[in-house]
Symmetry: C2
Subunit: 139 residues, 2 copies
DNA sequence: TTATCTGCAAAAGGTTTGCAACTGA
DNA sequence: TCAGTTGCAAACCTTTTGCAGATAA
């Protein structure tokens, strides 16, 4: 998904694409990584300009409403990854924190009617991506 | 898993089963529910006696080391469910917060070698259990 | 007996809120 | 124009830590 698409999704809900949000979104979308709020804040400062940490939190809130973000709980820390629509799962590299989408889900065809009515499900794989399987994380 | 088994797992790691831990563990294991730290603290106070909230946090820490607990992030809140060993997945009832284990996992047989080296994976289903599919949560 | 545990109070750390100034549409 | 946004500072809330007394093994 590109920035223009996000912009129109924002506008559709009466949100605005400000300069600050564009900086944060660029880093968030282009990196393919998951971030804690603080990490994304730091990265934006590095690559663009200083933004308020509050702005990052508020953007996560907005993106959550647009369902463009997925949270991960890892070692007690909350990470977020940019996530465009369509049913998919995740592979999270524990070294470089890049997230790859996985399509095709066996669970969609399995019958869980005797357990309950499923609203949604999540499936996340954690490990080491191709680039990070050497000694030191390189990507 | 019963309390005796947990007790021996604790002892194996030089942890103790105190009166307070027994109260918390009884509620935690017998309920089949997931709890935030505060919720478990409140429930133990109700059913047994007052314990320190700190004790609940420290027990979660110990159980995490023993891999007897699984955390869920739901609406920004961290819930924990008691979880004995063996590979399984979860069905979480969004109404009554009971957690059912699901065995049999198609992902175990799928090849992800072109994505990366998988360390572990998680799969959680969320919905409404049989008892809660009426109007008001009843279980 | 003694290493571990408890629980209070305080500190820490992450997240949210209030508000005056600013800005995208 | 003006509803939505920013960013600082303060408030808030969950989680962790220090410590003196208690206790499981």
């Amino acid at each position: 998904m590109d920035l223009e698409t996000v912009k129109s999704k924002l506008h559709a809900m009466n949100f605005r694409l400000t300069q600050e949000r564009e900086w944060v979104l660029r880093v968030f979308m282009e990196s393919g990584e998951m971030f804690t709020a603080m990490q994304l804040y730091d990265r934006v400062k590095e690559q663009y300009n200083k933004v308020g940490l509050t702005t990052v939190y508020r953007l996560f809130e907005v993106l959550t409403k647009l369902r463009l973000v997925t949270p991960f709980l890892i070692d007690g820390e909350i990470y977020y990854t940019f996530c465009s629509g369509g049913h998919h799962h995740h592979f999270v590299c524990l070294d470089c924190h890049r997230v790859k989408n996985i399509y095709g889900c066996e669970m969609d065809t399995r019958d869980f009617s005797e357990i309950g009515k499923i609203e949604y499900h999540r499936m996340d794989l954690f490990g080491h991506c191709e680039n990070c399987q050497g000694s030191v994380p390189s990507c």
